[in-house]
Symmetry: C2
Subunit: 184 residues, 2 copies
Amino acid sequence: MSEVLNKLLEENQKYSDSFGNKADLPTSPVKKIAILTCMDSRLDPSKFAGLAEGDAHVIRNAGGRVSEDAIRSFVISYKLLGTNEWFVIHHTGCGMESFTDDVMSGLLKKSLKTATYTESGWEDNNEGPGSDAGDSIDWLTISHTEQSVIDDVNTIKNHPLVPDDIVVHGLLLDVKTGKLKQII
Amino acid sequence: MSEVLNKLLEENQKYSDSFGNKADLPTSPVKKIAILTCMDSRLDPSKFAGLAEGDAHVIRNAGGRVSEDAIRSFVISYKLLGTNEWFVIHHTGCGMESFTDDVMSGLLKKSLKTATYTESGWEDNNEGPGSDAGDSIDWLTISHTEQSVIDDVNTIKNHPLVPDDIVVHGLLLDVKTGKLKQII
């Protein structure tokens, strides 16, 4: 068995042992909010936004971008579970600013191993084989930190499945201070 | 200004005030793992899997399903940031088991307001207008809890951009006990 899996299950056993009365939490978010943010390991939405279990839907992907899948999740969030205020939260120092679609396609064609970040950008010195399956993916990279928040909030607001009365906020988290700033 | 936003920013101020030395966290996950799980408000991956800030990428969407966007995030996670062990974690009592694509399309055609869950399933007694934009979305519903975990793990393993040496685990979280069970 994987050592990493073992360790994770050990941590989970401790969590389960002190689970308390959380079996009674409602399925609909208590605070009626949904948060979309980046998968970045430095971010913990429950901590930076002060959320307890039961409070909010949390959607996360590379960049915290409003992909079609994020829209799917948001629509399920309000249509079935009643959230009515949403937050798009990107962050400073996001890896999504460090490459373009062309760079990613090139790296994946070279090999399927992990690339290295150098002064001149991403480099892949691994042996192949690679794959050209990355060519058809929109990697949703970020070229301007604050503008990406504004663009994503507008994509949500203009979507035909999102009612006008949903409130959508756009914020930026500073990973050096943990502080949120409202952008839109 | 929104009261909900105000409250969230107040909580964030407390977090930032006690941020400590987290400005020095590395951008690559310390535990070299990525976790995909559901957006459900009852789930807190940092708590149920014992993760500190910096440990792991966390990807979340409705159901914790392996959508194209989840693949995008996973590939960025290993190709640029070196994760090599991934977890797909679905949970008991998931809302994604309570409807089908047809049900969701029908509810959205009726209105864009929040539906009600009754003994005979989802009902929408709101006034319209609705939208048929839901017809073209694969809602990634779940018809069998454990099978959805197995299917999603296999989708990852068979993806042309995922190298063979990435370890992929499939688990199920019991929302009544907080306990994880390995499925695959």
